[in-house]
């Protein structure tokens, strides 16, 4: 598998211009997908994506690639299902192989309380178009023969919800697919260009300051992952967001195939297999807010002890790499997309530990909002103003396992 | 295998100054005063305790289990502790032992005393298993 996918792509790099119709801060999945859909769907190509480092260097290039729609509130299920649908046709649309694979996801329950919430989730998901069915332990074992139904004698499996449409895709290929598609249409991607401030005309945001000079813009979109507070501070914008580190690790190859994605609502851990056969494992974000990408031993310790109870074969594998990303976690665990109350500044944030799956929907709906000036119905619930109007979208229970 | 048994003692929550006095008082060797926090103490082996302090709460406490350790057992337990044990004696240390919230009353074995490992009763099985 060629890791240097960018060398195979046809990319046209540009010198920055002094002005664009749209300037997008952050060359992660959300920034690049927004640029891609602005260009391909709305004919808006006078666009720059300004990236501090290299594209995909943020969380879009370091996540565990799980794509699913089995959330706990209707607004979210509909939104994420739309994203799932867009993902399944992305290879065809962009002509890039993003290694998309539909695998299904088993969400294990060990207590009656968890069984009840999974049953409710199945009903809600199915009603909103995301097929999810309850399965008993034997059926779970048939879907994933490696499961230890006794949970190592400690966490017996009472049942699981089976989210049939869940998938994975190679994260950096998604980033590069959108970048290539956008750049072919004339979008400028400016790497190694950090935004250090916002240009203001009175209250209005009129562009960005960068280490390489100012760039003015009709509209500025902030899509900077865990660094969103720094950008918001430039506009005196207050956000219900905290930055938390999220860690993950990968093992050496497992000779057999692990069919579905295995997650656990109560132990907060999840396991999937990469296309190379390695096991990709993650858990909850670190409890304290932090901008540090230092990985920790206690994460490995607690995470390995949980997953080996469920999938004992993992004990025979070795840990190859461990890493950390810093995530923009919103106060109600749902994304914040759209207007900010500051003229000329839009935002896409609160993607926390769950925003990879949302890249196609987030990007296409944000592009529609910028192009038409109207908030698409799927985005309406996710505005920043929901906090002041007491319409927060609390859904922490659905994000525990990415 | 350690045998953790219920410890019957007295739990006192009071103003720190009142407990300082209790801590400093001279007791017979069969009495152990474990200062969990400035305002919280657990006393083992004392029949009657008088405490000054207007708001002091004095209650019989059987919520902890524990066992007295030989030097060898203590060395084994210490292998399951991630943080350094202090050198001073006697001293109460508190924190994860084998990942379970526990406390150890460390004494000086030179004077023939033994150390006491204790934890909240619901953790008894977990701690015993992990130290086995």
């Amino acid at each position: 598998m060629n890791e240097f996918v960018e060398t195979l792509l046809d990319l046209q790099w540009h010198e920055p211009k002094s002005t664009y119709d749209v300037v997008i801060i952050g060359g992660g999945g959300h920034g690049l997908a927004t640029a891609y859909y602005l260009a391909t769907r709305h004919g808006i190509t006078n666009v720059a994506v300004v990236e501090a480092n290299y594209i995909g260097s943020g969380n879009s290039g370091r996540n565990t690639t799980i794509i699913r729609a089995n959330y706990g509130i209707p607004e979210s299920v509909r939104f994420y299902q739309h994203s799932l649908d867009l993902y399944s046709t992305l290879e065809e649309e962009t002509g890039c192989w993003i290694m998309h694979a539909t695998k299904g996801l088993l969400w294990l329950a060990h207590t009656e309380t968890a069984m009840r919430s999974e049953r409710a989730r199945c009903l809600l998901n199915t009603a909103c178009g995301a097929e999810t069915v309850m399965v008993d332990p034997q059926a779970a074992k048939a879907i994933c023969p490696q499961l230890d139904l006794s949970g190592g004698g400690r966490y017996p499996v009472l049942g699981a919800s089976h989210h049939v449409g869940a998938a994975t895709a190679r994260h950096d290929r998604v980033v590069w697919a959108y970048a290539q598609g956008a750049m072919r249409m004339g979008v400028h991607v400016l790497q190694n260009t950090q935004v250090t401030g916002l240009l203001r005309d009175g209250e209005r945001v009129t562009g960005v300051q960068t280490a390489n000079g100012n760039i003015s813009a009709g509209v500025v979109l902030s899509a900077v992952g865990g660094n969103v507070t720094t950008i918001a501070n430039h506009a005196e914008l207050r956000l219900p967001v905290r930055t938390h580190p999220l860690q993950a690790f990968v093992t050496n190859g497992y000779a057999q195939s692990l069919g579905p994605i295995i997650s656990d609502t109560e132990l907060f851990c999840y396991v999937s297999q990469t296309a190379r056969g390695q096991m990709l494992i993650g858990a909850e974000f670190d409890p304290q807010p932090s901008y540090s990408t230092q990985s920790s031993f206690n994460f490995l310790q607690s995470c390995t002890s949980k997953v080996t109870h469920l999938l004992p074969f993992l004990k025979n594998l070795r840990i190859l790499r461990q890493w950390t990303g810093i995530c923009d976690v919103s106060a109600d665990f749902s994304p914040i997309i759209g207007h900010t109350g500051v003229d000329g500044l839009l935002i896409t944030t609160g993607w926390g530990t769950w925003g990879f799956k949302a890249i196609p929907a987030g990007g296409s709906l944000m592009a529609e909002l910028i192009a038409t000036g109207k908030t698409p119905p799927l985005l309406e619930p996710f505005g920043l103003d929901r906090f002041a109007s007491d319409q927060a979208l609390a859904d922490q229970g659905s994000t525990g396992t990415r | 295998m350690l045998a953790l048994e219920t410890l019957h003692g007295t739990r006192i929550v009071a103003a720190p100054e009142a407990l300082d006095a209790l801590d400093a008082a001279t007791w017979s060797t069969s009495v152990t005063v474990l200062r969990f926090a400035p305002d919280d103490v657990f006393v083992l082996g004392a029949e009657t305790i008088s405490i000054s302090g207007e708001y002091a709460i004095v209650e019989a406490e059987s919520g902890f289990v524990g066992c007295w350790l030989t030097d060898e057992q203590l060395a084994h337990v210490a292998e399951h502790i991630d943080w350094p044990l202090p050198v001073e004696r006697p001293v109460l240390v508190q924190g994860f032992v084998a990942g379970v919230p526990a406390k150890i009353w460390l004494t000086s074995s030179a004077t023939g005393e033994r150390s006491l490992l204790l934890c909240a009763a619901p953790y008894a099985c977990e701690l015993t298993e992990r130290l086995a």
Partner: protein, 89 residues
């Protein structure tokens, strides 16, 4: 691994503690009382730098304390038992 110093028990690994949140502050520039309330309830400073926050030592003394931590390096600069009223509020 990140370590915190409990003012009562001493230096311990971070998994012995629960994070209790930073001290909420509302910027002076927000003057409308309703907006101040929304800010107090929902918004975070999310400081990249030194924060003042509360931690609970659940595996030890089971007491709250205050820490000052640099969120960029995770270095803990100070811990003490002073409570909310002594510091930033």
């Amino acid at each position: 691994m990140l370590w915190l110093t409990c003012p009562i028990c001493g230096r311990r690994p971070i998994d012995e503690f629960s994070f209790g949140g930073e001290f909420p502050t509302v910027p002076d520039r927000i003057t409308d009382p309703a907006t101040r309330d929304v800010d107090y309830v929902w918004m975070f400073d999310n400081i990249a730098g030194v924060t003042t926050e509360r931690w609970f030592h659940h595996a030890g003394c089971r007491r709250w304390h205050t820490a000052r931590r640099d969120t960029i390096t995770d270095a803990v600069l100070h811990t003490g038992i002073e409570d909310a009223t002594d510091t930033v509020l």
